[in-house]
Every structure is written in structure tokens, then in C-alpha cells.
Amino acid sequence: MTKLVYFAWVRERIGVPEEEVALPPEIETVHDLLRWLKGRGEEYAFALAHEDVIRVALDREHTDHDAKLAGAREVALFPPMTGG
């Protein structure tokens, strides 16, 4: 199982802050994951419509869309950060 966590408007649009999912074995990269999630329902399709602005962290480290999930236990999806 993989834990997915969402923040800010990604969280608001998907409607839950986190969930556990069983990823199909063919989901290898962050990009694959985003495509797969968008097929799960319109709330996902809306939240992830503009894939290029979605930031991703694997086990709490920033990564890019080409990265392999490589067994990450926690995958976070969120908009560009606006702290400070």
C-alpha cells in the first residue's frame, strides 16, 4: 500500500487530505501515478488537470515527474509552495 497525501487546493479539490492506495504494478513513475489518479474520478481530474504545476514529494523529498516511485511509502501532491 502507498500513502497519498494532498495539500492546499490539491487537497480541497480531491476532497480528502490523505488515502491509502494499492498501486497497480505498471505504475512506475510519478507521471504514471498522476495519469492513473486522473482516471479515478472527476475530483482527481479537476485537481490534477494542470499536471505541470503539481509538485511531488516522495517520502518527504521533492522530486520531479520523471522520477520512479521506487517503493516510496508516502507520496505527496501539492501546488507550488508559498511559505515565508
Binding site: 507550488p80 509552495m81 508559498t82
Partner: protein, 158 residues
């Protein structure tokens, strides 16, 4: 610096006392020549903003700020570095973020504090939601291109 102090990093709901934090980095020391303190505050956006709601990614926020702090300590000879970022509701005029950098010389302190703020803006997992004075939801603050561009200033030449 003769006395190496690890960076102090806190993510908290409560306000901070910038003066006390600066004093912590110099108390009892005589090798600190420069202390730069940065305080980021919530503006009211010409009276339209009632509050900012700061969301963060617990665990990753600490990890990411620690990474930025370690990078700053590696780049400049610092005698101390403190970073505090608040989360939750913050009203105009209230504090959001604090960075204090102490060093023997002023440039290290200025550069380190500025570096930390630039990376904190674009790399630390925090998001701001606007609550407006007219009672409506002002949406999420959008990331600025200019903030991302600022990172280019810190590209190592080597």
C-alpha cells in the same frame, strides 16, 4: 566561529519573540560580530485581507528547512542560525517567519539570512490561503515567478 552551534528550527502555531531569539545566539559569546534578523509579517493588502491561513506538510516542513539550514551553515561561517515558521491563522501585522543568522562578519550573516528566505519561499512545504475582510474566501496565494528566479542568485560557481 570558536563555538559551533547547530541550527535551531521550529514550526509552530504560536508567535515568536525575535529579540529573544537573536539574544540566544549572542548571549555569553564574544566572537559574534554581526547578527541579521529577518521578520516576515502578514500584510493587510490595502485592507482587503482579514487573515492568512498557513497550511504545512508536517514532518517534511521541518526536514526541508533543516536541509536549507544545513546548506547555509556549509556555505557561510555562521555562529548560529535560527529559523521559525508559523502555521495556522495569522492576521495582518502579525509575524509569519523569523530567520536569525549570527557570524563574525556582516556579509556572512546577511547572505545566509537572505539565502534561507529565498529557499524557504520556494522549497519549504507551506501554502497560504487568504480570508478576506468581506467574509469571502480569497483563494490560495499563487507562487510568484520572481521567487523562483531569485534562486538563480545562489548557484554555486564551482
Amino acid at each position: 566561529m570558536s563555538e559551533h552551534v547547530p541550527p535551531s528550527i521550529r514550526i509552530q502555531k504560536e508567535d515568536f519573540d525575535a529579540a529573544r531569539e537573536a539574544e540566544r545566539l549572542t548571549r555569553g559569546r564574544r566572537d559574534v560580530g554581526a547578527v541579521v534578523t529577518f521578520i516576515g509579517l502578514c500584510r493587510d493588502e490595502h485592507g482587503t485581507l482579514a487573515a492568512l491561513e498557513l497550511e504545512h506538510y508536517p514532518g517534511m516542513a521541518e526536514a526541508e528547512i533543516s536541509r536549507i539550514a544545513a546548506e547555509a551553515m556549509a556555505r557561510w561561517p555562521l555562529g548560529g542560525l535560527t529559523i521559525i515558521h508559523r502555521h495556522g491563522m495569522v492576521r495582518p501585522g502579525e509575524n509569519i517567519v523569523l530567520v536569525v543568522a549570527a557570524s563574525r562578519h556582516r556579509h556572512a550573516a546577511f547572505e545566509a539570512a537572505s539565502f534561507v528566505m529565498d529557499f524557504l519561499k520556494t522549497e519549504a512545504p507551506f501554502w497560504k490561503k487568504q480570508h478576506l475582510t468581506d467574509g469571502t474566501n480569497g483563494g490560495w496565494v499563487e507562487a510568484k515567478e520572481s521567487d523562483a528566479e531569485m534562486l538563480g542568485r545562489w548557484t554555486r560557481e564551482n
